[in-house]
């Protein structure tokens, strides 16, 4: 149970997001305690990716507030009005949030090592030698120590995704967002990536927000599952509970379709 004295790591307060006329999120409220591993499930188009992208400032919410560690992130209330927070302050929060993408998005103009040390050195100001040592540790952890100087274009999808995970971890994020990180992989490459993520879940206390179709993985790693539909959370429970005895009819339908 989350400690009531500490602020939740992530808090959505009445968040609304529209694309044109398409209302994706409507007054969404939820919070994630520090160290929680939360899996978001729901039908395609229910807004799971949008939630992660809002947290990464890749999209801008139309209403409501998003708080990280209790501090307003992109917008705040001032004199009863919702105003945007300037980039300088957003940046300080953003660097504590990491994201791994479905399509890896490694930088092809850099080697594996360069991908990992670029932001720690140039964004966080970590000394180069320290950043390299850290990157080598992370490469070890994801099982790619021998690919240190390889070009990312020469790696398999599974290897690229593991580098992307190492790159995100090199920023020492408090919050890690994972958006269907195995969906673009050939089936035989999925296991390695999931093993790396399982290891991270076991050995760190990073707060994780996970979108996945790998229900077995969600079951093992997460301690909470949120079921989305129609821009709202319709059910929320421990994975054992939701996967074995879903209460909501829509959840039952959804799980029947994916399991």
């Amino acid at each position: 149970m989350p400690d009531t004295a500490t602020k939740p790591a992530i808090q959505f307060q009445g968040v609304g997001k529209r694309f044109g006329d398409n209302v994706v999120l409507d007054g969404l409220d939820f919070s994630v305690a520090a160290g929680d591993r939360v899996t978001l499930i729901g039908p395609s188009g229910s807004g799971k990716t949008t939630i992660l992208r809002l947290l990464m400032t890749l999209e801008e919410a139309n209403d409501g507030l998003i708080l990280v560690d209790g501090v307003p992130y992109t917008h705040e209330m001032r004199g009863g009005k919702r105003v945007a927070i300037p980039e300088k302050r957003r940046s300080l929060v953003r660097r504590r949030v990491g994201m791994v993408f479905q399509q890896f998005n490694l930088f092809p103009n850099m080697s594996v090592l360069e991908n990992i040390i670029e932001a720690p050195i140039h964004v966080l100001g970590v000394p180069k030698a320290e950043a390299i040592a850290k990157a080598e540790d992370l490469l070890e952890k994801v099982g790619l120590a021998d690919k240190r100087d390889a070009r990312c274009t020469q790696l398999s999808g599974g290897q690229q995704q593991r580098v992307a995970i190492a790159r995100a971890l090199a920023m020492e994020p408090e919050i890690l967002l994972l958006d269907e990180v195995t969906s673009a992989l050939d089936p035989e490459l999925v296991a390695d990536v999931l093993a790396v993520l399982r290891n991270i879940a076991e050995t760190t206390d990073i707060t994780m927000l996970i979108v996945t179709h790998e229900m077995q993985f969600a079951r093992e790693v997460s301690n909470r599952v949120l079921m989305f539909d129609g821009g709202k959370i319709i059910e929320e429970a421990h994975p054992e509970e939701i996967f074995t005895s879903p209460k909501h009819e829509r959840t039952q339908e959804f799980l029947r379709a994916v399991l």
Partner: protein, 244 residues
């Protein structure tokens, strides 16, 4: 015919001077054009309208007006009131070429930057890179190889466009071809020499640009490195060219 050759040999040193002026115009014009292209191209993607609109206007203006008129304007109109700016003919040529081709190249810069997959911007943002850092270290190195072939085209056009400088009294290659024609009174011979020399310059530039393009592509993990190309070893087969 042998008379013609003799005259050509006699004129060779002056022809060389002409080639030099043409190269000066080309290199000067290209460097200026590149500068103009990046300034206008980046401004054309800016979020504020205060950068975007002026960039659009300048690009459309210099693309939409003739190069000859631009050169004449710089040469004949600028010295008049209210400007009173006298430029030497070489400067006129370089500025006109730089602005005109820079306007075209600005569109290349803008389009190539837009062609870099959005996932690259997003990954950089997720690592909290600022806009300048993102552009310099992630986006431009990937946009650059997309720009190269289009820049090569423009550079070749610029070489040929530089012939207009003859009309602001510059003694460039085109001028000396004219001299050759007067000397030999053989139009076919003179202009054939002219074609060949322009072609040789353009071809040499194409080779250089192709090498730069290969290097730029290799830098983003596509194709062999320049060293491999120059060694003329068989191109390495990329067995694991795995791209999503």
């Amino acid at each position: 015919m042998s008379d013609n050759l003799q005259i050509l040999v006699d004129l060779l040193p002056r022809l060389g001077e002409g080639v030099l002026v043409t190269l000066e115009l080309t290199v000067g014009g290209a460097v200026l054009a590149l500068l103009v292209a990046f300034v206008l191209g980046l401004a054309g993607r800016a979020r504020t309208r205060w950068a975007r609109v002026p960039s659009r206007v300048v690009v459309e203006f210099f693309r939409g007006t003739s190069l000859v008129v631009q050169i004449f304007w710089l040469y004949y109109v600028l010295p008049l009131p209210p400007f009173y700016v006298e430029l030497d003919p070489l400067a006129c040529g370089i500025i006109a070429l730089g602005l005109n081709y820079g306007a075209y190249a600005a569109e290349v810069v803008r389009g190539s930057i837009n062609a870099v997959p959005t996932g690259q911007w997003e990954a950089a943002t997720a690592l909290d890179m600022g806009p300048v850092h993102r552009l310099r270290r992630v986006i431009l190195p990937q946009a650059w190889p997309l720009m190269m072939p289009l820049f090569t085209n423009l550079l070749i056009q610029l070489v040929k466009g530089s012939a207009l400088a003859t009309y602001v009294s510059l003694h460039d290659l085109n001028f000396f071809i004219g001299e050759l024609r007067k000397g030999t009174t053989e139009t076919v011979f003179a202009y054939t020499v002219g074609l060949l020399v322009y072609f040789a310059i353009a071809y040499a530039l194409t080779l250089v640009m192709n090498a730069l393009e290969a290097r730029a592509k290799n830098n983003v993990g596509q194709g062999p490195s320049l060293r491999e190309i120059l060694r003329l070893t068989p191109a390495r087969v990329d067995t694991a060219e795995v791209r999503p």
